[in-house]
């Protein structure tokens, strides 16, 4: 059985994908989970392929997750950490693209501080480009693993009520989740301080709650975003304590929920700020499952993209699902 849901050359975000393509990635991730449980955690799928992890922003967990995914598919990986002066940031991107092209790298996983950077790179090189987070724009593999985790625990995505809590304005995780979940038929809401909410967000097809209590009353799932310290320093919220008091996901609040909630967090957590420890370590938290699923989802994405071509993605988006 083959379903042509080809992704094309790159995974830049979830906004351009169809529900069928997203479903194919999630379904493909299932068998890849099993590989991580074997004694020999390797399959020869990407043997001989070179993958560069090009990280312009510091990141431990995402990079390691990708690295494991790549190595478990037998690819050769190279890590380039281009975290440095922002002055060089702009020039470096174009020149980096050209250098990678000249070295004939098969795939590039890029994380960059500017929205649009992944698309910028993808348009300039022939290698497959996977967006590991560009500015505030998208972080597709994170949203995919979030959706996989929700699907694992609740059996479906359609009709599931997911509320994303926190700094939506600056969050690429939020945006990718909004695109992915709405396409898969989930009901999506956002909740956070107004200063951290993007304008016109409801026009993306989501509800907006101003109070965390309303969100908890409504949701089946909470995806809790990290509040970065810089936001407080930039004045968006007066203090972390105030944020926790009015928007923190605490055990007391969850106890008042009408139904058991699934708790997700992309990590790393600010314990005591957006989420309390007893919630993060509690029975409804699936945060560790997210980490496991992260590797499987990334393996699935690498598998599906390798050797892909953009024309097939276009055809796949409009073709009816074959059985």
């Amino acid at each position: 059985m083959q379903v042509d849901t080809a992704l094309g050359k790159d995974l830049v975000g979830l906004e351009p994908l169809s529900a069928a393509q997203i479903r194919a990635i999630l379904d493909t991730a299932e068998p890849f989970k099993e590989i991580s449980e074997r004694a020999i955690k390797k399959v020869p799928v990407l043997r001989g392929k070179t993958i560069v992890n090009l990280f312009f922003e510091p990141s431990t967990r995402t990079r390691i997750s990708f690295e494991f995914a790549e190595k478990r598919l037998s690819a050769d990986t190279v890590n380039i950490s281009a975290v440095g002066s922002s002055v060089a940031k702009g020039e470096t991107l174009v020149d980096t693209a050209r250098n990678l092209e000249a070295m004939k790298i098969d795939m590039v996983v890029i994380r960059h501080g500017s929205s649009g950077a992944a698309r910028f790179l993808a348009d300039r090189i022939e290698s497959n480009v996977i967006n590991a987070g560009d500015g505030r724009h998208e972080h597709p593999t994170q949203a995919l693993l979030d959706m996989l985790t929700i699907r694992d625990h609740l059996g479906r995505l359609e009709g599931v009520r997911v509320c994303i809590v926190g700094d939506i304005l600056h969050s690429r995780v939020a945006r990718s989740n909004i695109w992915g979940l709405t396409k898969m038929g989930a009901e999506v809401a956002v909740c956070g301080p107004r200063t951290l909410m993007p304008p016109y967000v409801t026009e993306l097809g989501v509800q907006q709650f101003s109070r965390i209590e309303e969100a908890i009353e409504w949701a089946d799932v909470l995806n809790v975003l990290r509040l970065q310290l810089e936001r407080m320093q930039a004045g968006y919220v007066p203090s972390l304590r105030e944020y926790n008091r009015f928007f923190g996901v605490t055990r007391a609040r969850l106890l008042r929920a009408p139904r058991p909630l699934l708790i997700l967090h992309p990590g790393p957590m600010n314990r005591g700020v957006e989420i309390d420890s007893d919630v993060a370590d509690g029975p409804h938290s699936v945060i560790l499952d997210q980490v496991t699923n992260g590797i499987a989802v990334r393996m699935a994405v690498l598998y599906l993209l390798a050797g892909g071509a953009p024309e097939r993605a276009e055809a796949a988006k409009s073709a009816p699902e074959a059985v």
């Binding site: 991107l93 174009v94 500017s114 929205s115 649009g116 698309r119 505030r136 304008p199």
Partner: protein, 433 residues
Amino acid sequence: MTPRPLLLRGGRVVDPSQGIDDVLDVLLVDGTVARLGRGLEAPEHAEVRNVSGLVVCPGLIDLHVHLREPGGERKETIESGARAAAAGGFTAVCAMPNTDPPVDDPAAVGFVRAQGMRAGYARVYPVAAVSVGQRGERLAAIGEMVDAGAVAISDDGRPVSDAGLMRLALEYAQTFGIPVANHCEELSLSRGGSMNEGLVSTRLGLQGIPNAAEDVMIARDLLLAELTGGRLHIQHVSTRRGVEMIRAAKERGVPVTAEVTPHHLTLTDEAVDGYRTEAKVNPPLRTAEDVAALREGLADGTLDVLATDHAPHHYDEKEQAFDDAPFGMVGLETALGIALTELVRTGVLTLSQLVDRMSCGPARAFRLPGGTLAVGSPADVTVIDLDAEWIVDPDKFLSKSRNTPFAGWKLVGQAALTIVGGRVVWDREVGPR
């Protein structure tokens, strides 16, 4: 060296300053308009050009260009900019002072003026800085700079953020009879922004610049102009509230003029989709409602002037992630074509109104010579072919830079001849002189 007399025969003369729209001959002698009439005889040694089927109007004047010299010669020089202006049908441009170093003293003003004269294409009128170094702290030597040839003052690039300083500028400039041109942007509302704040910015994950960032300062400046009686010129208006406020202020008799760019009249923030840096401009491209209000404002005269805000940038600089690319697009060589195609052909403006907004209006706003074909006025004339069909090809630009979102657009209408001081500085049959 004075040029030969030049007789333009048989063109349709459109001169709103004299209420003329008629087929007439135009005779230019010794750098001034000598006669308008039917069946004029060519004097001895005169050059005669047959311009029947074409429009003859007072030379177009662009009140807002960035020529990048001194300091940014890689992107544009006064010469290349003046030449590009001539190719676009402009007989004069006003060069903004945000160069490196900025034009904030009479020597710099003199330099810009001399470079323009040496180039010998469109006239280059220097606009001088409001504040020393354009730092917004204290007034620059405005009187001396006007003496050296400055026609207005502006800290463009930036706004004059301090209301107290803006008040001083509006008051002081009156002594020298020049306007204060302000780039209205409340920086604390626009900080970090790279495009219009709206649904598109949310989708793309880019920090937005809300309309309010501009409106807040337009409101402030209109009130200060009212308070001081100083001449205010609001640059590149991009918002509907901005138009409303300017209209109301004019009705109250506030001495304000306002300009709008061709791109703000034709594009919305959707043009940025796909992170296209050619569409990254400040103030940003806004929404359809804003575009509609700007068109109405230009038609009813609330917005007096069409100006390009020609902002050349080298290809390398625009080839970056969106956040990192500089703001701005070139405009000298596309303005007339865009205006004729998107505003006149569509009925937003009559041809006469367009000539007014691109020639008479600018001359009035900055009290520049020109903007009219009245006998005795400078022989600055633009001859327009209304029917010429052409496609915007940045590689053919005379400007050193190519950053425009209009690449590939099919336009109808372009300058056939540009005449400055009675001399042809652009002839599209021949190319640059």
